[in-house]
Structure formats: structure tokens, C-alpha cells
């Protein structure tokens, strides 16, 4: 059995990508299964989807913990989540990035295929929906499912949802990604992180449907609030504070919809990157251009 795990952001089409590779496998006479993992159903929030392909009927329905193939649809996720956790040493990774494989630090050396799916999607589809380009790169990473079958599945699946023309354009995005994808090997500089976080036992849970309360700037905030939910992981562009330009008007502090800008005693600011979603309103309202938005999830 061949297992694939997709890491993407809400809106990039990870679910459709998983469904399409399953359909492509069935087109080749194989058995397949694909399903999403739903967390926060928000554009930009990290999401996962899974696919399994086999020559016989697939029975197991558990999530994919030890994938043969890892697909990362937004390279900024590499810094946010332990995406390579469980990836087999003999497995492969497909990454949407403008870098080449030898610059991709997965924490382990595996066969790695990189493709600038965002640029291909913007040029071909005029939208940063990268799933079909990623599917083309997947065909290059592993010949399990051929590019021909993938394109056929894209035309059928996307054609049904979005019309014939969209189906053909998306198939073209896959073709271009297949041609442009670079095959290499990832590097192993970063510590292999485990996908495990501390969670309370049933005895540790407060009564009622509640999580533990938290504290922000000395102020008690309710459980289940942004203190526990690190909405900063949704960010794809990041504000940089240029302190010497700051005129201390605190407009950014006042306007931030997530209270992610903290005001110092001298009216200069600090940015709470755990909760900044990267909306850029602070940068827009700043009269002194003391906050600039930088592409990427981190500075």
C-alpha cells in the first residue's frame, strides 16, 4: 500500500488534490481512498489530507502516520509544523517552493522534488490555487500514477466542478509543473520534530466544556480563546516593525483585529507572532511606513 500525506493551507486545494490522485489511481485500475482532516475550516489555516493507493481493496481508515509520500503545498509550513514526521526513509517529498531540493530542510535526507507551483498556478490559472500543479510534480516524484492518468482525473474532477475550460487549464498546470519540477535530495539540518503536543488527561480538564483559561498582558482571557489557538500559523506574510521610523501614534495597536500588537510604555510596539494572522492592516494604517509586510510565515 502506498500512503500520501498532504500539508496545505485552507484554500490551496489539498482536499481536491488528494481526491484527484485517488481518481487517477482508479483510472489505472488500482484501488484508492482519499480523505481530509478537518480542523479550523479557514482560508490560510494549516490543513491535512490523506490518500492511499493499493492493488487490492483498502480496508484501513486511520489517518496516515507513516507516509510514503509527503506533499507540502506551502513551503512556510516547514517552519510551522513537523511536516516530515513519520515520512519513510525510502519515501519522497514534493514541495511547492522556488528553491531547489538541496535547500529544502526536512530534517531528513529523502528523495525530494521541488516545483514553483505558486508561480505556475498564477500564470496558468490566474489564482494561487496550487493543487493541480502539485499533482503534476507528484507524477515526477513517483511513477506510481502516470501524468496521463492525473491529467485525465483533473479534467474529469475539475471539469465537473468548474467547467470544461477550467478542467483543461488545470491539466495544463499539471503538465507545466511536471516539466519544471526538479528532482534532488532534501537536507537534514533541522532537528526532526515529533508531532506530539501536551494535551490534558480527563482528570486535568476543567469542568464543563472548557479548556484552561490563559493570560495575555496580565489580563485573564477565556478558555478556547486565541491564547490556546495559535492563529499565527495561518499567516503567509509577516509584518516587520522598523522601530526607528515609528512615530508612536499607536494606530496599529488600536486597529489590529487580533490584539496581536502590544503597546510598550513608551508607545512603541511589539508584535505577537503567535497570533498575528498577517492581514497587513497595521502596515496600511501606519503613517510612517514603520511596518512593512514580508512574504512568508516568518521574518
Amino acid at each position: 500500500m502506498f500512503e500520501i500525506r498532504f500539508h496545505g493551507r485552507g484554500g490551496q486545494g489539498a482536499v481536491m488534490a488528494a481526491q484527484t490522485i485517488a481518481e487517477a489511481a482508479v483510472n489505472e485500475g488500482l484501488e484508492a481512498q482519499a480523505f481530509p482532516h478537518f480542523g479550523a475550516e479557514r482560508r490560510g489555516a494549516p490543513v491535512m489530507a490523506f490518500a492511499r493507493i493499493d492493488t487490492k481493496k483498502i480496508s484501513v481508515r486511520t489517518q496516515v502516520y507513516v507516509p510514503d509520500m509527503l506533499v507540502v503545498m506551502d513551503e512556510s509550513l516547514l517552519d510551522i509544523e513537523p511536516v516530515a514526521d513519520g515520512l519513510k526513509d525510502t519515501g519522497s517529498a514534493v514541495i511547492n517552493t522556488s528553491s531547489s531540493p538541496e535547500n529544502i530542510d526536512l530534517g531528513k535526507r529523502v528523495r525530494c522534488v521541488t516545483v514553483d507551483a505558486t508561480t505556475i498556478a498564477l500564470e496558468t490559472l490566474k489564482a494561487p490555487i496550487v493543487n493541480t500543479a502539485i499533482l503534476g510534480a507528484m507524477a515526477k516524484a513517483d511513477p506510481l500514477v502516470s501524468l496521463g492518468s492525473i491529467k485525465k482525473a483533473i479534467i474529469s474532477r475539475f471539469g465537473e466542478h468548474l467547467g470544461e475550460k477550467a478542467g483543461a487549464l488545470n491539466a495544463e498546470a499539471a503538465q507545466r509543473a511536471y516539466e519544471k519540477a526538479i528532482i534532488g535530495e532534501s537536507i537534514a539540518k533541522r532537528q526532526q520534530a515529533k508531532r506530539s503536543m501536551w494535551l490534558p488527561t480527563w482528570q486535568d480538564m476543567p469542568a464543563g466544556v472548557a479548556l484552561h483559561p490563559g493570560e495575555v498582558g496580565g489580563m485573564k482571557v477565556g478558555p478556547g480563546s486565541a491564547v490556546q489557538v495559535r492563529t499565527g500559523t495561518w499567516r503567509t506574510r509577516t509584518p516587520r516593525y522598523i522601530e526607528e521610523r515609528c512615530v508612536r501614534c499607536v494606530k496599529c495597536w488600536f486597529i489590529c483585529p487580533d490584539a496581536a500588537i502590544h503597546r510598550r510604555k513608551d508607545d512603541r510596539i511589539d508584535i505577537d507572532y503567535d497570533h498575528c494572522k498577517g492581514c497587513g492592516i497595521c502596515s496600511t494604517v501606519c503613517p510612517a511606513r514603520a511596518i512593512e509586510m514580508v512574504r512568508g510565515a516568518r521574518l
Binding site: 482536499v15 481526491q19 485517488a22 481518481e23 482508479v26 484501488e31 484508492a32 481512498q33 482519499a34 480523505f35 481530509p36 478537518f38 483498502i58 480496508s59 484501513v60 481508515r61 486511520t62 489517518q63 482525473a153 494535551l199 490534558p200 488527561t201 480527563w202 482528570q203 486535568d204 466544556v209
Partner: protein
């Protein structure tokens, strides 16, 4: 027959179209929204000639389904969790007025915590309502169960509504290979609906009248008697289905590797798929384990279960919901079935609120079942719980 890659929700929608349902009153609630979305696409595209009605709530949707079915037309609706709860009142009208409505329910957890993920505490309480309930394992079965449901429900020996239950996300949003039958095959298997007791302007009458205590007890007994005798018809329809389509599900239960099994586990819904893998792996180690897939919660297959378990040393039941300070509902029913046989029965609660069910969890259940022969253990084990069970 066409090979398609469909989600559980879309498989249900295709089945509804193939069954040539006449009236579909619905209110959209996630995660069953894809079912009615697809049905409305079929109707809008002119592929399916049915009356699609938007209700202002699930309570209204079920009321409209009752009204439509009472005029003698084939009726379908779909819901999930909170929606099913809101239908609760009207749910009871359908079986008592003998209306063979078929409804898909996407199982998800009910109440505070607002979980949208798989759990059976939405549909399990409705086993008291008089609806038949089937729990399906994969997308193919989701489709086939709808087709079988109309055949069973509309049989004049039955005339009861049926709820086809599928797990939220694990099935509703999972795509798989599905063999979609030809319209002619479904037409040959499922004849046009012949209503038994319906509203007809040329022959006016009342149905669903208010009755006094002088009548209601007999009406309830009638329902109980009817439900107790329904299981053989379900087995019969499955048999005929297999002749037409080449697939069978075993009727009210399916036995998997139960030949010579000493220890058996019963599962329902998608848990069965992953449990099959655990059984295969344990069998490969030489352990004599087997699996029973419970398909129908109503009618509950007491007789067939007793027969299937005649030779086992111990039995365990998987439950994806819990009655507080009681047990899982499936366990309660199953232990009643086995009362007096002396076979130790244990309850295995897992997958609550959509917690991922792993092969390892099912292996742990089998270990507990084996150990139960020695005695001294618990009646009920929670699997995958953080913190020790006390």
C-alpha cells in the same frame, strides 16, 4: 455499471437519483450538505426529475417528508446530528403512520463541544422511534444501502421508514471507488412505490389521528411486534440484491473470519474496515479472532447474533457513543442477546468525538476480550483515553 470515484455523501446522492425518488424536502446541515447539494445539482441539470423542497428547519423537513410520503410518493431527506435532534418530534410520526421514508443521517456528535466529527450519540437515541437503522462501512455500501432501504421499507410486510447512517468525514467526505449501477438494473430491482395507506382526495380519510389510552397501547404493541419480525425481510432483500448486483452485505449482520473464532468483536460503521485489518494481522499470528459487523441497530439482530457466537469463548462490543453511567448502546443490546449463554461480554468505547481509530486500538480490544475469560476485569473499557480509567 460505471466506475466512479465518489465520497460517501455523493454515493448517497447518486443512489437517490437511481431510486427515482419523487420528493426531497431538506434543510442543509453540515456534514451532510454535500448530499443535498449534489441532488439539487442533478435536478438543476435536468438529470433527475424530482420535487426538491427547501424547509425552514429540520423539524419542518421531516414534517414535509411525512406529508409527502402520506400522499403516496417516494420520499427522501438527509440530516446530521443537531438536525436529527431537531427532527426528533416528527421522527416518531413516520413509523407509526407506516410511511416508508428513507433518510440519510451523517453521524456526528451532538451537543456542547460542538463536535462536527463522527460519533453515534445523535442516532442511537432514535432507535426508540420505530425507524429502522442501518450503519454503513464504505461508500459502495452507502449507495447500496439506500437502494436496499427503499426495497425493504416499501415492502407491504414492512412499511417502516429507514435511516441510513454514515460516519461524518470518515465516510461522508472520503472518496473511494464506487460501482454505480445502470438505471435499468435499479429499476428491475426496485419496483415503483405502491403505497399501502395514503391520502387520496377521491377516498377521503384520516391518518395520524389523536387516540385515547383505549387504543394507544395496542398501537404500540403492533409496532413492537412488527419490528421484531422485520430482520428476515432484510436478509431476504440482501440475498436478492446480490443476485442482481453481485454484492452482498449479509443482511442484518456480516461475519468476518468467524469460522473457528474463539474471540469475537462486534463493530459498526467505518470502524469495521480498520478492525478487519486488526483481525487479519492477529490471524496471521495464529490468534483465533473474528469480527461481526453489525449492520442494523433496528431491528437488532438478536437471533443471528446468538447463532454467530455459539462457539466463542468471549465477546466484545465496540461503541462510538456512551449512555452516561450506563454503557454504550450497542453493548447493552448485545449483552441482552447473549443473556444466559455465559459468554463474557465487554464494552469497548473508542473513537468518541471523531478520535482517530487505529489498528492498534482494535488489537488492544481483542487482548481485553481474551483476558475477560479469566474474569476480574471491567465491563467497559475506554480505548485511547488520556488519563487512567477509574
Amino acid at each position: 455499471m460505471k466506475v466512479k470515484v465518489l465520497s460517501g455523501d455523493h454515493a448517497v446522492a447518486h443512489a437517490v437519483k437511481l431510486c427515482k425518488v419523487d420528493v426531497i424536502p431538506t434543510y442543509p446541515i453540515t456534514p451532510q450538505t454535500l448530499i443535498i447539494e449534489k441532488i439539487s445539482d442533478f435536478i438543476f441539470d435536468g438529470e433527475f426529475d424530482a420535487t426538491f423542497m427547501h424547509a425552514d428547519s429540520e423539524h419542518s423537513a421531516m414534517s414535509m417528508a411525512v406529508g409527502a410520503s402520506a400522499t403516496g410518493v417516494r420520499t427522501f431527506t438527509a440530516t446530521a446530528s443537531q438536525g436529527l435532534a431537531l427532527m426528533h418530534e416528527m421522527l416518531y410520526v413516520a413509523p407509526q403512520t407506516r410511511l416508508p421514508i428513507v433518510m440519510a443521517n451523517v453521524n456526528r456528535s451532538l451537543g456542547a463541544g460542538s463536535g462536527i466529527w463522527a460519533e453515534y450519540n445523535d442516532s442511537m437515541p432514535e432507535r426508540e422511534s420505530g425507524w429502522m437503522q442501518v450503519y454503513v462501512e464504505d461508500c459502495q455500501e452507502a449507495m447500496d444501502a439506500i437502494i436496499q432501504a427503499y426495497r425493504v421499507a416499501e415492502d407491504h410486510r414492512v412499511m417502516l421508514p429507514m435511516m441510513v447512517c454514515l460516519d461524518a468525514f470518515v465516510l461522508s467526505h472520503t472518496v473511494e471507488k464506487v460501482l454505480v449501477p445502470e438505471q435499468s438494473e435499479v429499476d428491475a430491482f426496485l419496483p415503483r412505490f405502491r403505497p399501502m395507506n395514503y391520502l387520496d382526495t377521491s377516498n377521503p380519510k384520516f391518518i395520524n389521528i389523536a387516540v385515547s389510552p383505549a387504543h394507544s397501547m395496542e398501537m404500540r404493541y403492533q409496532m413492537d411486534h412488527l419490528m421484531r419480525g422485520v430482520a428476515p425481510f432484510i436478509d431476504e432483500v440482501d440475498e436478492e440484491f446480490s443476485k442482481m448486483f453481485g454484492r452482498r452485505y449479509g443482511g442484518v449482520i456480516e461475519e468476518y473470519r468467524m469460522e473457528d473464532a474463539d474471540y469475537a468483536l462486534m463493530t459498526l460503521g467505518t470502524a469495521t474496515s480498520t478492525a478487519r485489518v486488526a483481525v487479519d494481522e492477529l490471524r496471521a499470528e495464529g490468534r483465533k479472532v473474528g469480527l461481526i459487523k453489525l449492520r442494523f441497530m433496528r431491528p437488532f439482530p438478536h437471533e443471528r447474533l446468538r447463532r454467530a457466537l455459539e462457539h466463542v469463548k468471549a465477546f466484545g462490543v465496540f461503541d462510538r457513543s456512551i449512555s452516561m453511567n450506563g454503557f454504550g448502546p450497542v453493548f447493552t443490546e448485545a449483552r441482552n442477546s447473549l443473556y444466559g449463554t455465559g459468554v463474557p461480554v465487554t464494552d469497548h468505547i473508542a473513537g468518541i468525538g471523531g478520535r482517530d481509530l487505529t489498528v492498534q486500538m482494535f488489537k488492544e480490544m481483542f487482548q481485553r476480550i481474551e483476558d475477560s475469560v479469566k474474569g476480574g476485569g471491567r465491563d467497559c473499557y475506554w480505548h485511547g483515553l488520556r488519563g487512567e480509567q477509574i
